[in-house]
Symmetry: C2
Subunit: 211 residues, 2 copies
DNA sequence: GGGATATGACTCTCGGGTAAGTTACCACGG
DNA sequence: CCGTGGTAACTTACCCGAGAGTCATATCCC
């Protein structure tokens, strides 16, 4: 029964078998590699085979651990979103108001992202599926940022005598993108430290905003 | 050998044949449909078969006319980019300065986009190929906007005493995204007229910017 | 009849996902 | 100290559907 299963193995043959890496360890390794690759190339342009190759393992192992490409991506996004949301909630609790609050949040996010820029890219990946549980996770994270934005923006505009709800809505969208742009700009300038980046934001806000 | 080619056609059979539509006419029709579909779903999520179905024709006809999916998309993006670039160059020649200039450009772009919002989506499609001639066309269009932005932003910051080149670079990126966000926000609020949108921009700039 | 316009049915590649088998580690009895 | 079986980790080789791109053929107008 077990004598000559198939002629599959041949000379070189299949050489599967454990490499002595425990499940948890392997899982973290895959998540780290997947985060980097997804962040770099985007969800759509990344194949599971890519990640397997970069991690030095085979594709089915990834399916064994995460079930599907989406399952893997969801785990990656989940970790990333948790990191960011935790940070912006912490920043919100610091009690800064108005523009100051925006700056504090930016600084906090810069801190969390140091050395793991893919975190931001992955949560804001425009090529990710727009429906399903992945989108749910991404949306939750973005909505949290949006909430913070809406507060600060509403206050700012009220002071300036603007009350139209659509005005506030549009401005909130703008501020959200300003935030994202500053973060993205930073991720593209690796030589700039977090402190320098925060100082830059302060300078620019001072120069441009009427307070 | 040649007697009975194949049993391909059968009873119902292929029913090709001209429908009396001239080449130029058909081409414009396809471009119009393709623009709408690409703008709505994005490059990656759109199949050539989708466009053919929406246009009421068959897939090979599109290949006959445009050679490839990329060829078609490039034509669509080319038209869209030309429209936008022409408009922002026209706006630039009007001679407005500083914040005023930004508002004039926004208003002009709103005007051009009325009733053809896909124009904007297609040029800024994040799922389009990032290399090749398509990217070249998109980049040229975006770079033009960036140039305009750099001028206005440089001036604004100089007045406020900010001269660091990286500051200017970052702020230019921010302004570019603010512009894009306002346009995108408008495309998502079809009930808002161009005039209302321009007025909104004026209000928001007044409220927020130090002039 | 001839050329332009049009199509059904096909091929080919890429990438997600799976089946089945291979190897290493580990506990335990002798 | 040496099997020996059970299980967890791992791989090769495959399936299958979607979508880009092609070929041979069919119809219409002049």
């Amino acid at each position: 029964m077990a004598s000559s299963t198939t002629a599959r193995s041949g000379a070189a043959g299949a050489r599967g078998g454990t490499k002595g890496v425990a499940r948890g360890e392997r899982e973290e390794q895959i998540l780290a590699v997947a985060g980097a690759v997804f962040g770099e190339q985007g969800y759509a342009a990344t194949s599971v085979a890519d990640i397997a190759a970069r991690a030095g393992i085979s594709k089915p192992l990834i399916y064994n651990y995460f079930g599907s490409k989406d399952g893997l991506f969801e785990r990656v996004v989940g970790e990333a979103a948790a990191l960011i949301v935790t940070e912006i909630e912490r920043s919100a609790r610091l009690g800064a108001v108005g523009v100051e609050r925006g700056l504090v949040t930016l600084d906090g996010v810069f801190g969390v992202l140091e050395g793991r820029i893919w975190t931001w890219q992955v949560v804001n990946d425009p090529t990710a599926p727009t429906t399903g549980s992945i989108a749910t996770v991404q949306d939750a994270c973005r909505r949290r940022l949006e909430e913070l934005a809406a507060e600060g923006v509403g206050e700012l505009l009220r002071l300036a005598g603007v009350t139209d709800p659509l005005d506030v809505e549009a401005m909130t969208a703008v501020w959200g993108q300003v935030f994202a742009t500053l973060v993205t700009w930073w991720t593209q300038h690796p030589d700039v430290t977090r402190e320098q980046m925060t100082a830059r934001c302060v300078r620019l806000f001072d120069a441009v905003l009427a307070r």
